[in-house]
Amino acid sequence: MNRRVYFLAAGLVLVAAGVSSFKYVRGGMKISPEASRNLWRVNVSMEIAGKGERAKVRLTLPRDTERQTVYNEHFENAGLTFYVRERPLTGNRIGFWRSELLEGSRTLQYACSVQLKGLAFAFPGDALRPVNALEAYPPEFHTWLNPSDFIQSESAPIQRSLKKVVGRERRIGPAVRKIFDFVRGDVKYRSERGSKDALATLARLEADCGGKARLFAALSRAAGIPSRLVGGIILKDGVKSVTHVWAENYIAGRWIPFDVVNDHYAAIPHDYLELYRGDYALIKHTGLKKFGYFFVIGRERMPPVDYPWSLYGLPIHFQSTIKVLLLIPVGALVVALFRSVVGVPTFGTFAPILLALAFREISLGVGLLCLGIILFCGWLLRALLDRLKILVIPRLSIIVTTVVILVLVMMVVGFRLGEEKMLFISLFPFIILTWTIERFSVLEIEDGLQAALRALGGTTVVAVAAFYLMAWNALRVALFTSPELLLVVMAALLLLGRYTGIRVTELVRFREFVRLGKGGPG
């Protein structure tokens, strides 16, 4: 029987290893050496500090295009609500973090791996510029033909400049070339705080990438060619916070990139990561006292795995639920270890795991404090109810009801005293704390106060241990990338299930024997 358990455990580990290596090998074989040089890991870190009101941060996230593949996305929401929306016209993917009431400093993170390709376009330049562009293109292109706040394509200076630069050239190709050469050559590059608009760039003939791209787009639109800005980062190992902006013109049925700053005519190099389209900002935020961000960019070794069953394939805002779910078996392993090997008494198997999850939500210190207060009040109440000789189930229900009243009182009093954050403690940890006191009471009835206190202490210790293990980021990421590791957890639990050794606490229980063994028989 023993042997069967070992075989099963070994089998589970083998299956996990097999799944892992299959994923690795399959992913690795699909990638050519040239492409693997263009794998990057990009991490956006945002340091924010709230001012005690509603706060919102939005960041445009990279999306899949013909030249970039985004995979293994990961985010840290630091207690804020996170969700992703896609914009219809541009197709931009926008991640929102929001909190109804944000106080103190937090770090929000978004990380992803990307595989990029450089592209160069050749386009037939013989087509003629339409006389009336708005009629020549379907309505969804009108946004990219009409003037906008910073791309004033219909203003007189732009129209005059267009006449001077393009002259009587009717063909699209040579016209774009002339505009490109003018903006690249005649406008000097100078980095500045806040990009200029197209008019100011034309007036000063000096701008950063944003101003130059706007002027290029304004002249293109004036020439009747749909044109838009594209924002992104030029990837390079290290830490940076500089973004880049270039332009795209719609020529011969496709969007073709033009970067006047770095002289990429109808081409885009392999290290350009595209983040958004249109004249937008990469990051916007409201309700913050302080905001700072930076990118950490490094090389990625794992190529994108075309693996439909990966958890990364799920919508990114559901992934946090899954991460919590993945931690439960880890917690169970901790509980099993503590109970079978150390011999710490706990309230059942799940109480320590649930407590650890509650601690994750309301922080360890607050969680322990709440646990203490609620248990003490509940115990006091139970002692009073004992005298009334009430049956167990109604008695426990009275205790649970009282805890709920206690929480409500804490909320109302806290709110009146101006501690608004009392209202936002999530319901889940309180349910768990309330349930813990029920377990405590049952054990006290069955085995007495001493045993109940011992189990409470044990539960707390195990919960704290599970809390720290669950907070271990590398483990969470590993479990998320390779959920097959759960099979290894199961194998470990199987072996624990056959562990027939002496528990550590039994050394104390049988200490008379230990002493006997040392002192010789007698």
Partner: protein, 312 residues
């Protein structure tokens, strides 16, 4: 320095191994209700002619509570929950004074108090997990004089561990002031190891400490002779044939009139019996296993013989 090594060398059975090898390995799940429900235990014991305190009547439902008036015809009795564990919910009425009842502790109760106690039992106040329970009223055991003086209130009992039907270890459990008249070791009763061949105590343990004298009576815990010891062993061996649990504890009391009676059986007997006996269970358990597969099929007399050979 290495406590683990010491415990292993002395053959101390620890919880993990007891659970995996002995209770899970030897006690089929389906047999548990036979011993967890005292009414079923009692019925089986009676059916096979094994001695137990007589059942007066049982109360299964709330509407039957008026049945309790039958106690008017008794002078003393015990009210018990069918599924109460570790002596919880047991009410011992030692005497009556007019229409009132006197507990063994001296407290005086009315019939209404007893009815309330029964309704608590039915609602599951004393059962594990709080599930609904049944109550019954039975004969009150009065302890044999040879043992009575060693206990502080309450009735001492004798626990015999049977492994595959062979008695392997036993102890006398003496209630103390701390255990509130109950004979459970972890509630503070004194456990005295027994010389299986002679039926005489060899020493004792209180909580997890070895002691020489009973904390309340002051009498030595060694050298107490158990009356009817041979009968106790013989009865214990026969219970295995009825219940079939491979690892079981049988609790006996010795009544001053009726002699040894089986009080209850336990499918997960505790490990402190080893402390009471100052020795580990594993050597003797292994010795039983060394007799081969057929131990269960030995006759009761052969298993008794085997037990006495093992301890010799």
């Amino acid at each position: 320095v290495n406590g683990f090594g010491t415990l292993r060398r002395l053959g101390v059975l620890a919880l993990n191994r007891r659970n995996a090898r002995y209770t899970l390995g030897r006690n089929p799940r389906r047999l548990y209700p036979l011993v967890d429900d005292k009414l079923r235990t009692k019925a089986l014991l009676e059916e096979h002619g094994l001695p137990a305190p007589a059942l007066y009547f049982r109360i299964d439902h709330n509407f039957e509570i008026p049945k309790i008036r039958q106690i008017e015809t008794f002078k003393d009795f015990v009210v018990k929950p069918a599924r109460g564990a570790e002596g919880r919910g047991i009410l011992v009425i030692a005497d009556r004074e007019g229409d009132r009842w006197k507990k063994s502790s001296g407290e005086v109760l009315t019939t209404a108090d007893i009815e309330y106690h029964v309704s608590n039992i039915l609602a599951g106040l004393y059962s594990l997990g709080g599930i609904d329970d049944r109550a019954f009223v039975e004969y009150r055991v009065r302890c044999h004089a040879a043992l009575a003086k060693h206990a502080f209130r309450g009735v001492p009992d004798v626990r015999v561990i049977l492994y595959r039907g062979v008695p392997v270890m036993s102890m006398l459990r003496l209630p103390t002031r701390g255990s509130d008249g109950r004979a459970n070791l972890h509630q503070g009763a004194v456990g005295c190891g027994l010389d299986m061949a002679r039926g005489e105590t060899t020493g004792g343990v209180l909580k997890d400490r070895w002691i020489g004298r009973h904390p309340d009576t002051g009498l030595p815990v060694a050298g107490i002779r158990i009356p009817f010891w041979k009968d106790i062993l013989a009865t214990a061996v026969r219970t295995y044939d009825v219940f079939g649990l491979g690892y079981m504890g049988a609790d006996f009391v010795v009544d001053h009139l009726l002699g040894p009676l089986i009080l209850e059986l336990n499918a997960r007997p505790g490990l402190n019996i080893q402390l009471a006996n100052h020795k580990g269970l594993l050597p003797v358990l292994d010795a039983v296993d060394a007799r081969g597969r057929g131990v269960e099929h030995f006759s009761a007399a052969e298993r008794l013989e085997l037990a006495l050979n093992l301890v010799r």
